[in-house]
């Protein structure tokens, strides 16, 4: 008897915990798929009947949505790619050197608000005449992608026992070979998590693009924000746009949530 009561209580708790998240996203879906009339109705209509793709079509039509999508992909892709190129070896070096101090610097980087990087970088890029290209955006996104890559990857390399590589050393491997042939393949799961998290946090970023990007070089989060302020737009397309922007992230999260949970609990990190 007590056992069934316990299970019931647990079920209620689980429902209470998960429903704010799920109902929010369901509402977002509802807003996106409702037509104009339903969106303005009060009391609100919950299930659009019939659901319509009109909002999405409007999003693609009004404004260079694909251009902004491309910008986001390029910026986040390159920022993540560069972060992997320099961050993975760095994580390995830090792990093998046991250089905790460098990790402290990264921790401090995390403590500072994004704007404190932006102001100087903004003045610099202004002086160099680069504002308006994607370059400044990509470079500043490195502030997000490099620290988290180094942090997660170094933690991962630290868990790889030294003995595996020592056997290679006895065989005459150079440090680079050790890294490339032994440590790197073994660390693939950790690198994957780091890459995905870095990509997600870069994709989500608003402020760097808001300050540094021109009309042509905006990333998606900046683009949809401007939609809200500069154009009188109905809720349907707005919700559709928001959904499109965050959908890749949501899908990525659901697919590899287990690994993300693992990567984040090992230190509790969040990107800028």
């Amino acid at each position: 008897m007590k056992k069934t009561l316990d299970k019931l209580l647990l079920g209620v708790c689980v429902i209470l915990l998960v429903s704010p998240a799920i109902s929010f996203f369901l509402w977002m879906l509802s807003l996106a798929f409702k037509n104009e009339v339903d969106n303005l109705a009060f009391p609100p209509v919950f299930i659009p009947s019939p659901p319509t793709f009109a909002n999405f079509i409007k999003v693609f039509d009004s404004g260079p949505f694909f251009k902004y999508l491309l910008n986001s992909i390029v910026v986040s892709g390159l920022a993540t790619g560069i972060a992997l190129l320099i961050g993975v070896p760095a994580g390995y070096g830090i792990a093998r050197l046991k250089a905790k101090k460098l990790l402290m610097v990264i921790m401090i980087a995390r403590m500072t608000p994004a704007i404190s990087f932006l102001i100087p970088l903004f003045t610099l890029f202004q002086a160099l005449g680069l504002t308006g290209t994607l370059a400044p955006v990509i470079i500043t996104h490195l502030v997000i992608t490099v620290p988290i890559t180094v942090y997660i990857v170094s933690g991962y390399f630290e868990t790889l026992p030294n003995e595996l590589e020592e056997a290679a050393v006895v065989d005459g491997c150079s440090p680079w070979q050790r890294f490339r042939h032994i440590a790197l393949p073994l660390a693939r799961p950790g690198i994957t998590v780091a890459a995905i998290l870095a990509f997600i946090f870069s994709w989500n970023n608003f402020i760097f693009g808001a300050v540094l990007a021109g009309r042509e070089t905006r990333t998606l989060p900046v683009a949809i924000y401007n939609v809200l302020t500069f154009e009188q737009i109905a809720w349907g397309p707005l919700a559709a746009a928001a959904l499109l922007v965050t959908l890749p992230v949501l899908l990525l999260t659901l697919v590899i949530q287990k690994e993300i949970v693992g990567g984040l609990t090992a230190g509790g990190v969040k990107g800028g």
Binding site: L10, C13, V14, V18, P20, A21, F24, F25, W27, P44, I82, P89, A90, Y92, G93, L97, L102, V105, I106, A109, R110, M111, T112, A114, I115, S116, L118, I119, P120, L121, Q126, L142, V143, P147, S174, P175, I200, N204, F206, I207, V211, P221, Y225, L228, W235, A242, V245, T246, V249, L250, T253, L254, Q257, K258, I260, V261, L264, T265, A266, G268
Partner: protein
């Protein structure tokens, strides 16, 4: 490379590229900010050395001081509530139940989703006439609220969004801690006849405290830095009712182009963040009972 004869480890080379990038995009901007805080410089005009006058001016700047107050209030609420809810959530997700993996994934979505996109939907939900939140209130007989359009409530509404978004992160950290706790003190407590509440209060909670404090530090730093959601939902308004230091900073820098003044704000802000973090780190050290 023969490691034994060299005083410098070859692993240095692995780190060098990253160090260069970090110096370029993090250290250099920081030095620059520190330097600029001593100048009076608006973009487009000439910079003049101003010593510490930016800082003294801030000390008497009502708007800035109010922004500090707003920031502290926001942070206090945005840290306390997720700590409690997140720990409770960790207790629940520590149990076994069907579809736990999937449900945990769903629970985690808010913190991963694009903040701007989320904020836009919240804006629509907060709308006094057409927002769904007022509709839900009316279902339980409460009158419509102004939500973010009310100076009194705007910060609270922003806290609500923050809680919704970041409780999952606290849960993940505490859950990780729970998984690492040794199992046998709990068996011993069972043997000694402790009820579930007693076990939680005397055994689980004290043992979880270091992890909860880690979550607290992380949460506090993030709450202090919150920008996207506040900017999108209230822009610091109505008026300046929900203007936090970060919003004030953004306006100074990119609306008014006051580089000198905003650099000074950054320095003050950083000192505040570090001071509070030190406090929480110290608390955490004191709560550690393991070697």
């Amino acid at each position: 490379m023969r490691k034994l004869s060299r005083p410098i480890s070859p692993f240095i080379w692995f780190i060098v590229p990253a160090v260069i990038v970090i110096i370029a995009v993090i250290v250099f901007p920081w030095m620059f900010t520190l330097w600029m805080s001593l100048f009076d410089w608006k973009i487009g005009s000439v910079a003049r050395f101003a010593g510490l006058s930016n800082f003294t001016e801030l000390a008497t700047n009502t708007r800035f001081l109010e922004s500090i107050a707003h920031t502290l209030i926001f942070t206090a609420m945005a840290v306390a509530a997720p700590l409690v809810l997140g720990t409770a959530a960790a207790l629940v997700f520590h149990q076994e139940f069907p579809m736990r993996g999937f449900l945990r994934g769903a629970f985690v979505l808010p913190m991963m989703a694009t903040p701007v996109a989320i904020a836009l939907v919240w804006v629509m939900m907060f709308h006094p006439q057409q927002g769904v939140l007022n509709y839900l209130l009316s279902l339980v007989g409460i009158g419509p609220s102004e939500w973010v359009y009310s100076p009194r409530l705007s910060i609270a509404c922003l806290v609500l969004v923050d809680i919704w978004q970041w409780t999952p992160l606290v849960m993940l950290i505490v859950l990780g801690g729970m998984a690492s706790l040794p199992a046998d003190p709990f068996e011993a407590a069972l043997m000694e006849g402790a009820t579930r509440w007693q076990t939680f209060r005397y055994v689980t909670l004290p043992m979880l405290l270091p992890f909860i404090l880690v979550a607290g530090v992380v949460r506090m730093i993030d709450a202090l830095k919150t920008f996207d959601t506040i900017y999108v939902i209230t822009q610091g308004g109505p008026g300046t009712a929900s203007e936090t230091i970060n919003i004030y900073l953004y306006l100074q820098a990119f609306s008014f182009y006051q580089i000198g003044k905003s650099s000074a704000v950054v320095v003050v802000f950083f000192v505040l963040v570090v001071a509070l973090s030190m406090l929480l780190f110290w608390l955490r050290e004191r709560s550690k009972y393991y070697e």
